[in-house]
Symmetry: C2
Subunit: 343 residues, 2 copies
C-alpha cells in the first residue's frame, strides 16, 4: 500500500496499533504534543522533530542561523503546548559534504541562541555525515508539575476556544519567499523585495514559541482544559482537539486573528485569506480551551482571542462564516506524507 | 574549513565550546553515552542516534525488521553503558517514496520487538517524507538511581579494565555481507554463502544490548568506576575513558576476547585479527573498569573478561603484544565524518 493513501496520521495509527506500555513512569505515549513520563510529582515531557532539507526547508532562502533557531523553537513550542517548560534538548545532525565547519557553526549558533533565550540546555546529540542533504533531528525534554499538564483531550461542551497571536502569516511568508526565489532564478544581482512584508518573512523564518502566553495563563490562574500548538493549521489542530476530547466545535470566521500584512499578501496572490489562516500552518501559536467562567480572565490577556466554543460531539466541527453559513472544518494542513498537492 | 579536518569529535568540541547549562536538573550534558537529568533521587538518562541510509545501513543486505531492531538496540546500549535501564524511546522516520506501508510496518515490527524484549515503551516520534532515502532518528530515555550512574570519567590507577562478550565479530560480519553483495551484483539467482559464519552475520545484523551484564554486576554488588559501550571499537573507547578519567591504560593482546569465526574470517580476508578486534566497532559490548579488589567477583561473571588495567596518565595508553612489545593505542574506529578511508 502506498504511504500517501494513509497519510502521516494514518500511518502512525497503523504502526502504533495495539501498542501497550509497561513502565509505570510512562503516563502518556503517542498521540499528543509530547509524551509524558512521571517521576514523583514532576512530569517529564518529551517531544521530537525531524527536519529534512528539501522537505522542511530550502537553504536557497533560509539562513542557517535562522534554521537552527526555528528547529529548536518548534520543539519548545510542543512543550509549552502541554503547559510545560522546556529544559533540555538533544541535537542530531546529518551533514552532507558541501557543508563546512563554518556552516554548521552558523546553524548551531541559531540553536544555541534559542536555547539561551528560552533557558534550555543543549545536553547531547549525534553527528554524522549524510549523502542526502542536511538532516536535523531535535528532541526536547521539558518539565511540569503533574497536576498542571494540559493534553488535547480535556475540552468539554461550552468551553471557550482561544488562540494566541495571529494566523496565516508564516504561510504567507513562505509564499513570498518562494515567489522571490522563482524571480531570482539565474539572476546573480537579484535583490528580493520584502518591503512592507517583513512581518511575514519573520514569521516564516524566525518563529517564537509562546512561553509568554503559558506564563500569562499561569499568572491569571487559568489552567486550559485542552491545548496544542498550531503547526499544521488551525483546522487540523481543532479537529485533533475535538477528536481527542470527543467534542464538536464552532469557530467564527470574523474572530480569527489575522495580521494586516497577511491580508495584503493574500490579496496580492489571489488567495482566500481565511483558507490561508485556517490551513496555513507553521504559526506556532497556541490553541487552547478554557471553561466558560474564565471568559473575562482569558480575554484580559494581551494577544489572546476567543474564537469560538466547544460543543457536544454530535454537532461536529464547523466554522460560522461572516454571513452566518456553517462550513464543516476539514484538515487541509500540511501533510508531509501526502505530497505537495495537499499543502 | 572542511569538516573532515576536524572529524566527528573535533566538530562536536567546536560546536559545544563554552556551552553552559542553566537548569538545576541538568547534571551532565554533552560528552558521555547519555545526558543525565536529575529528578529527586532518580536520574533520567537521554541518548539519541541518527541513522542514515547509505551511511549507516545498506538495504541491499539489511532486512528492515533487523534494521528496526538494531536501531533501538544501539540506543538501549548507551543507557546500559551508564548503568541505567532504558524505559522509553521516540522514533522519528524520514521515508522516501519507494517505501510502502508494509515496508515501514516491517521496520517498526523490529523496533517494537526490541522494545518488548527490553521492556521499553515507544512513546512518540515524528514521521515525514524524505527525498533522500530512509532516515531513522531514535531517542531513548532511561532511569537509574542517582548514586548508581556510571560515567566515562571515574577510572583510577590500578583499576581493572573489563569487556563483555567478544570483539570484532560485527565488523567481520559487515565485511562478509559486503563481499557477498559484490559477488551478487547482476546475478538474480545468487544465494549468499554464510556457512559457518552465521555468528558474524548475526552480530552485524542483530546485535543485543548487554542488559545481562549490567544486571550481573548489580547482583555481584559491583559498581564500575567507568563504563561505556563499544560502538566505535575498543581502542577508540579506551581512549575516551582514559581521557575522561585523566588516566592511562595497558591492555594485553592475548586477553582480548575474539570468537573463532572472527579469527577464521580475518584469515580468509588476510586482515590483522587484533586490528579488527581493536578498531572494528559495532560490537555493543560493555567496556568498564572496576577497583582491583573486585577482581574475583568480576571474573566470576560469565562473559566478562579482564583485559588490562588503568595506569597513571603519564604512562599513556598502550597494548602489550604477545611478544611483550608496547604499541600505543590509536583511535581508528569508525568516524562517520572522516569518510570511508578511516573505516
Amino acid at each position: 500500500m502506498e504511504i500517501s493513501e494513509l497519510g502521516e496520521f494514518g500511518l502512525i495509527d497503523r504502526l502504533t496499533a495495539g501498542l501497550n506500555t509497561v513502565n509505570p513512569s510512562t503516563i502518556r505515549g503517542v498521540g499528543d504534543d509530547c509524551a509524558v513520563l512521571r517521576n514523583h510529582d514532576t512530569d517529564i515531557l518529551v517531544t521530537t522533530d525531524l527536519l529534512l532539507e528539501g522537505v522542511h526547508f530550502d537553504l536557497t532562502y533560509v539562513p542557517l542561523k535562522h534554521l537552527g533557531y526555528k528547529s529548536a523553537i518548534v520543539n519548545f513550542s510542543d512543550v509549552y503546548a502541554m503547559n510545560g517548560t522546556p529544559k533540555q534538548i538533544t541535537v542530531s545532525l546529518g551533514i552532507s559534504a558541501r557543508f563546512t565547519v563554518e556552516h554548521i557553526a552558523e546553524l548551531f549558533s541559531g540553536i544555541r541562541l534559542a536555547c539561551e533565550i528560552y533557558g534550555v540546555d543543549l545536553v547531547g546529540g549525534d553527528t554524522t555525515s549524510s549523502r542526502q542533504g542536511l538532516v536535523i533531528s531535535i528532541t526536547c525534554i521539558g518539565e511540569a508539575p503533574s497536576d498542571r499538564i494540559v493534553t488535547r483531550g480535556g475540552a468539554a461542551d461550552t468551553d471557550l476556544i482561544c488562540v494566541s497571536g495571529d494566523l496565516g502569516a508564516a504561510y504567507m511568508g513562505l509564499q513570498l519567499l518562494e515567489r522571490e526565489k522563482v524571480a531570482s532564478a539565474g539572476r546573480k544581482d537579484f535583490v528580493p523585495s520584502f518591503d512592507g512584508k517583513e512581518y511575514l518573512v519573520e514569521r516564516q523564518l524566525k518563529p517564537e514559541a509562546r512561553r509568554d502566553i503559558v506564563e500569562a495563563l499561569a499568572k491569571a490562574g487559568i489552567v486550559p482544559t485542552a491545548m496544542m500548538d498550531i503547526s499544521d493549521g488551525l483546522s487540523s489542530e481543532l479537529l485533533h482537539i475535538c477528536k481527542a476530547s470527543d467534542a464538536g466545535c464552532r469557530v467564527y470566521e470574523d474572530r480569527i486573528p489575522i495580521d494586516y500584512q497577511t491580508a495584503v499578501m493574500a490579496e496580492e496572490l489571489g488567495m482566500n485569506l481565511v483558507t490561508a489562516a485556517l490551513n496555513g500552518g507553521e504559526d506556532y501559536e497556541l490553541l487552547f480551551t478554557v471553561p466558560l467562567h474564565a471568559h473575562d480572565a482569558v480575554s484580559a490577556i494581551p494577544g489572546v482571542k476567543v474564537i469560538g466554543h466547544i460543543t457536544k460531539p454530535s454537532l461536529g466541527c464547523a466554522m460560522i462564516t461572516r454571513d452566518g453559513a456553517e462550513i464543516p472544518l476539514r484538515a487541509q494542513g500540511w501533510n508531509p506524507l501526502k505530497g505537495e498537492t495537499d499543502k
